[in-house]
């Protein structure tokens, strides 16, 4: 169990993400049900949370706690651990032809530290009166003043800050390892220009994560100091909460937002860029065509990485920033759509005119492009202060970020799972179940999140646990539709879970290269031996994009370790 093998660690990360994602999904089910039918008791919930949902009907505070835990679990323990740490750990060393990570022990430590962080967060469910309720962004002063701020803001919020601080350490260790491995352990012939797109994406993601988490960590420390040591970094003076004058003075809630979003915006690219890499590697395989413009792709990724550090203020247009700063942050936010749009065009250009092989993996890769574009377009509206001021507090934003970083990243994870499962476990997954899973999920997420744009434009505020205002009454049927769609789409994920377990036990034996792909992981056995290549390291002679060529044996592709 305490293995230093990167393949085991990668699978451990993915298992953790699987537990986390179903936890987070159940939380969203509870929230959605409450939004559709606020007065109807949820069977069993009263027993699980007697304080927050006596009789099965949750209090507004408990709703916010579910929202906080849903966001935190999903962003940190699913969207960061699965596509980046999970797939990256398993595949990056193999794809560059290395026997393991540069620092196997540090690698093992990063996983176990992540697990500790997860357990500390989950403990917030059981310690104190309820989990914290200040959102995955933990906005101060709500998150900083302690238990006066409401249920869950005592121990729960402290555990939240400790958990995320620990998580930062794990990500720093992981990022160090990814960078060193990519730069130093490439096998002979694997020049930087020949690295597969997914490796590039994980590498660039590691560079982003290295600095982003290094800033979140001191922010968490300051938050903990505010909570337990009486400092006032994020708490202004004269604050009265629950009729109690807070013994703090001089701090600034905006400081927390600056520190948090300086991390937070790069973090959304930590979640999505591995998906970029996974899709860019999968589409050419099933289109049987080389990726259009791989160097442009890499340049775009690098541009996104750089720009991701310059846009954090667009989360703060409503926070009382100087309007000139808002313009300053708006411009790079619009500029960052250019490399993102170019990447999208590269994907479309890659599949243009191709005879696509439709598998679960390629369908999810195509679905990734679809939801990323759908979510990206609403970004244009939110990037501009004039429109964002109206939309920021509404479901429009919920729709935007769920599409563009949540669902899109999840589709990247699904595509990667269907694609690499044979390599990881030596067995094939069921394509029939995979396609059912895809179509139900694809239609489902559009049913859930597309109407939310409309809700937002209609002025439906977010973060409310129930909509009692008159002007929101006509929107309730739409909320119920979304809730039903969410329950069905969530249930469709059980198909995926069943497929995972069944294929793991009884799937047909996987050949070494079932998809006829070119990268190094497909030239070793399925699953790969402990040292990845059975004692000899491959020598690379080709780039990763040799499709639609005259290969050996009449094949239409040349593998990276093959000679022409």
């Amino acid at each position: 169990m305490f293995s230093v093998d990167h393949k085991v660690i990668g699978r451990q990360y993915l298992d953790l993400a699987l537990v986390a994602v179903f936890t987070g999904m159940v939380l969203s089910w509870l929230m959605r049900f409450h939004l559709g039918w606020p007065d109807t008791p949820i069977p069993g919930l009263g027993k699980i949370a007697p304080g927050g949902a006596a009789g099965g009907v949750m209090t507004p505070e408990y709703y916010l706690a579910l929202m906080t835990m849903h966001g935190t679990i999903m962003v940190f323990f699913v969207l960061t651990t699965a596509p980046f740490a999970g797939f990256g750990n398993f595949l990056l060393p193999i794809q560059v032809g290395a026997e393991d990570m540069a620092f196997p022990r540090i690698n093992m430590m990063s996983f176990w530290v992540t697990l500790v962080a997860f357990l500390v967060l989950v403990a917030a469910f059981f310690v104190g009166d309820q989990p914290p309720l200040s959102g995955w962004t933990a906005y101060a002063p709500l998150s900083a003043v302690g238990k006066d701020a409401g249920p869950g803001q005592g121990w729960g919020q402290t555990l939240w800050a400790i958990s995320i601080g620990i998580f930062c350490i794990a990500q720093l260790l992981g990022s160090l390892n990814f960078i060193a491995t990519t730069l130093d352990l490439r096998t002979r012939g694997m020049s930087l220009a020949r690295m597969p797109m997914a490796t590039w994406a994980w590498f660039i993601t590691a560079v982003i994560a290295l600095v982003a988490f290094a800033v979140l960590m001191p922010a968490c420390i300051l938050l903990i100091l505010d909570r337990v040591a009486g400092t006032s970094f994020f708490i202004p003076g004269g604050l009265v909460i629950s009729d109690q004058l807070q013994p703090h003075t001089g701090g600034s809630p905006l400081l927390w937002q600056h520190l948090f979003w300086f991390f937070g915006h790069p973090e959304v690219y930590v979640a999505i860029l591995p998906g970029f890499g996974i899709v860019s590697q999968i589409l050419p395989v099933f289109a049987r065509k080389p990726l259009l413009g791989p160097k442009v792709f890499i340049a775009c990724l690098a541009a996104i990485a750089f720009l991701s550090y310059t846009v954090w203020g667009h989360h703060m247009f409503l926070s009382g920033m100087n309007p000139f700063s808002a313009t300053l942050f708006s411009v790079p936010t619009l500029v960052i759509t250019i490399p993102a749009a170019i990447v999208t065009l590269l994907w479309i250009g890659t599949i243009y005119g191709a005879r696509l092989r439709f598998t679960s993996a390629s369908l999810f890769a195509l679905g990734f492009v679809s939801v990323f574009v759908s979510g990206g377009i609403s970004g244009f509206f939110l990037a501009q202060p004039s429109t964002d001021i109206y939309l920021h507090g509404t479901y429009f934003v919920v729709a935007h970020f769920h599409f563009v970083m949540g669902v899109a990243a999840m589709f990247g994870i699904f595509a990667g799972t269907y694609f690499w499962f044979p390599k990881m476990f030596g067995r094939m997954m069921s394509e029939t179940l995979g396609k059912w899973h895809f179509w139900l999920t694809f239609i489902g997420v559009y049913c859930i999140f597309m109407p939310m744009h409309y809700l937002g434009l209609a002025g439906n505020v977010r973060r409310y646990s129930a909509f009692t205002d008159d002007y929101l009454q006509p929107l309730i049927p739409l909320h119920r539709f979304i809730t039903i769609a969410a329950l069905v789409t969530g249930a469709a994920q059980l198909i995926f879970l069943y497929n995972l377990i069944r294929s793991r036990l009884r799937g047909p034996q996987a050949p070494d290269n079932p998809w006829e792909a070119t990268t190094l992981e497909w030239s070793t056995s399925s699953p790969p031996p402990h040292d990845n290549f059975g004692g000899r390291r491959p020598v690379v002679t080709q780039g990763p994009n040799e499709y639609a060529v005259a290969g050996p044996g009449g094949r239409d592709y040349i593998m990276q370790a093959e000679s022409r």
Partner: protein, 209 residues
């Protein structure tokens, strides 16, 4: 200059592409750590600057004597310890392991002296009523919070640095570590020194009464 660590790494990773920076993975990793740690300190110093500007009742706690004078002495000690660290690395690279050990011990001694002077300063400030949440001069309590927060994190780096140098020195004496290890430890130590070159003007000199 050929680095002693590189040859060993090449033997380990025979059949690899050369590293684009021509350094060992260990050295690359310590540079990456320094990048991340620099971001951490930058965030803290940003927070310090932010609350300082936001608080018109900021009080400057330090008189030249003894506070700034003490800080100058600490600065000289820490800078000197960087010099002795360089001495250790150069001696180790030249194969003079006894000299290298002496330099390492000197570095640890200077680091400990720095920490001692720092803690003495802390305790006299605590004695004067400074806390994370209290300013005995009557201005914003964030003066104490930022002072103890920033210098505390730096002090943590110094103390753990001394401990790491101790471990490395023991391993080096037993032949388990080589000049490459001393060099990467040195990089860390110089970085701790460099951070102080930001802390000293921003936290001390700008707060001269």
């Amino acid at each position: 200059m050929v680095e002693p660590g590189v040859a060993a790494a090449d033997a380990h990773a025979a059949g690899s592409e050369p590293s684009p920076f021509g350094v060992t993975s260990r050295k690359l990793a310590i540079w990456m750590f320094i990048v991340a740690d620099a971001a951490t300190f930058a965030a803290l110093l940003f927070a310090y600057g932010y609350v300082r500007v936001a608080n018109p009742d900021w009080t400057r706690p330090f008189a030249f004597w003894p506070s700034i004078a003490n800080a100058i002495v600490m600065t000289v000690i820490l800078l000197t310890s960087s010099l002795t660290m360089i001495g250790a690395v150069l001696a180790a690279q030249a194969g003079r392991s006894r000299d290298a050990l002496r330099w390492l011990v000197a570095t640890m001694g200077l680091g400990t002296l720095f920490a001692g002077l720092h803690l003495r300063e802390w305790s006299s400030m605590i004695g004067a009523g400074w806390r994370l949440f209290r300013n005995p001069l009557g201005g914003t309590p964030l003066v104490g919070a930022t002072f103890f927060g920033v210098t505390g994190l730096h002090l943590l780096h110094v103390v753990s640095g001394v401990a790491v140098i101790g471990v490395i020195a023991l391993g080096y004496r037993r032949g388990r570590f080589d000049a490459g290890h001393l060099e990467t430890t040195g990089l860390y130590w110089h970085f701790v020194d460099l951070v102080w070159m930001f802390v000293f003007p921003l936290i001390y000199l700008l707060n001269l009464r």
